[in-house]
């Protein structure tokens, strides 16, 4: 479905990605792991067309996205739920969801998806007329995921969805990720919570200073000794 082929990205003189090749197949949940600054967010921003690769290509169903704008890429169904939630704080919950569905014309489909988001996250339904800024951190993350779902993702990119959340909310977010995956939504998951991410992922990639240093199935990576040493032997918080 999505393929990054030896992608190089640099910001000025700083190389953020070097020869990164990643593949996400239809229906898969792929985890993208690595320390802060490893290039995970840059990879997602490159897929979204916000950052342009200096070399290499991003292929979606075999089509090169080099010329596609972020707007076109959303229209193709590649939807990113960005790090730090970035909900529209001055807009109500309903308005935020409406913005997720902004380019859709199928009113009944939009309403159906909205009800679906409210069934995934009942608290959003209760707070539908509240402004986004008044929600708690966990509720904002739910709203950010819900907003992305309103865009009818064929590929949903989640950037650090559990960052900064209390453990019980982390569980809730991962429950929803598992449920979405079970429904056949293709997911590219960037996470610092390596243990959780590998537990739900079909496959994973580990980035370090802009390169893919490891890849494999979730189970393979879980039992990999380097991963074990780098992330799993101590609490993930302690590594950050």
């Amino acid at each position: 479905m999505l393929k990054l082929e030896s992608v190089d990205v640099s910001y000025g003189h700083v190389d953020a990605l070097r020869g990164v090749s990643i593949e996400v197949r239809d229906g898969e949940l792929v985890a993208l792991l690595g320390a802060n600054g490893a290039g995970k967010t840059t990879a997602l921003m490159t897929i979204s067309g916000v950052v342009r690769p200096r070399a290499g290509s991003v292929l979606y169903d075999g089509v090169d996205l080099a010329k596609a704008s972020p707007f076109d890429i959303v229209a193709l169904g590649l939807i990113q739920c960005p790090e730090g939630r970035r909900i529209f704080g001055g807009l109500s919950v309903l308005e935020n969801l409406k913005m997720g569905a902004v380019r859709r014309a199928d009113t009944s489909g939009v309403r159906r998806d909205r009800d679906w988001v409210f069934s995934l996250f009942p608290v959003l339904g209760q707070r539908r007329n509240q402004s986004g800024a008044t929600l708690s951190g966990g509720e904002q993350q739910m709203l950010a995921i819900g907003r992305a779902l309103m865009a009818e993702p064929r590929l949903l990119m989640l950037d650090e969805p559990s960052l900064g959340l209390a453990p019980i909310l982390v569980q809730a977010i991962f429950r929803v990720i598992r449920e979405l995956h079970g429904r056949g939504v293709t997911i590219l998951l960037v996470e610092q919570n390596v243990r959780q991410a590998l537990a739900v992922a079909d496959r994973g990639y580990v980035l370090s200073t802009g390169r893919v240093i490891l890849e494999g199935t979730g189970a393979e990576l879980r039992s990999n000794s380097e991963i074990e040493q780098a992330y799993l032997s101590t609490a993930p918080e302690a590594k950050r």
Binding site: P70, I79, L91, M99
Partner: protein, 298 residues
Amino acid sequence: MSALELLLQQLINAVSIGSLYALMAIGLAMVFGILRLINFAHGDLIMVGSYVALLLMTLGLPFFAAAAAGVAASTLAGLAMERIAYRPLRGAHEISMLLTSFSVTIFLENLAIILFRPTSRAFPAPAFLRSVIHMGQLRLASLDLIAIAIAAVLLLALTLFVRRTNIGIAMRAASQDLLAARLMGINVNRVIATAFAIGSLMAGVVGLLWSARVGKIDPLMGFNPVLKAFVASVIGGLGSLPGAVIGAYVLGGLEILLQGLLPSALTPYRDAFVFAILIALLLFRPNGILGSSEKEKI
């Protein structure tokens, strides 16, 4: 004239001039909210609309047709400005955008000087804009009442637009987080063009009311209104639409108040006093009346 009548009279004057500032300030605030661009060339849209209206009137067109064409010319000029000067700078540094807006101003003003000569021309407002209604001791200028009514209608329409329509909500979304707006598939170029169109339309309307008020127009006529609008939106909180409107009425009120209170020897320096008070206000509320103290967004 009783004290109450005097108060009422001055209140109408203040709301009338505040309305013009408000319509101008909205154009600045909408664009700044999304792009972080202080578009000083916004004032020149007033000039463009007024000259087009004047030329069509001298060609014999009735006032309303000429006025509508003037407003349309301002709107188109605003859209062209966005497309030609600002869109290529998307993502550029704020300073580059600010300098570009100065260049656009210099270009438009000098173009007008070449086309229309630098001297001012009389702007023949029709009789209904120059009439005065007497109510007891009150002198109600029709122009003031019309300005207040037009501003009320346009502000209400704008409020409904940003609350109820998809593109209006998208405009608010884009002004809160432009990157998130792009990632959600909001057509940012369309949103920005719409913001320019609305702001320029309002500038066109202000141009006609301003020209009718002053009675003459000249190529540099946009400077004073855009300066006042800028001050108004800073007082209100840069980028906030309600803030821009509140700031505009505060500015109008202060001007009229000082005009009445200052001894006549000092009235030529009225603006200096007005700005001194506003600087004092900003010392206490650096982000303006409605500006949040949140850190600047990325």
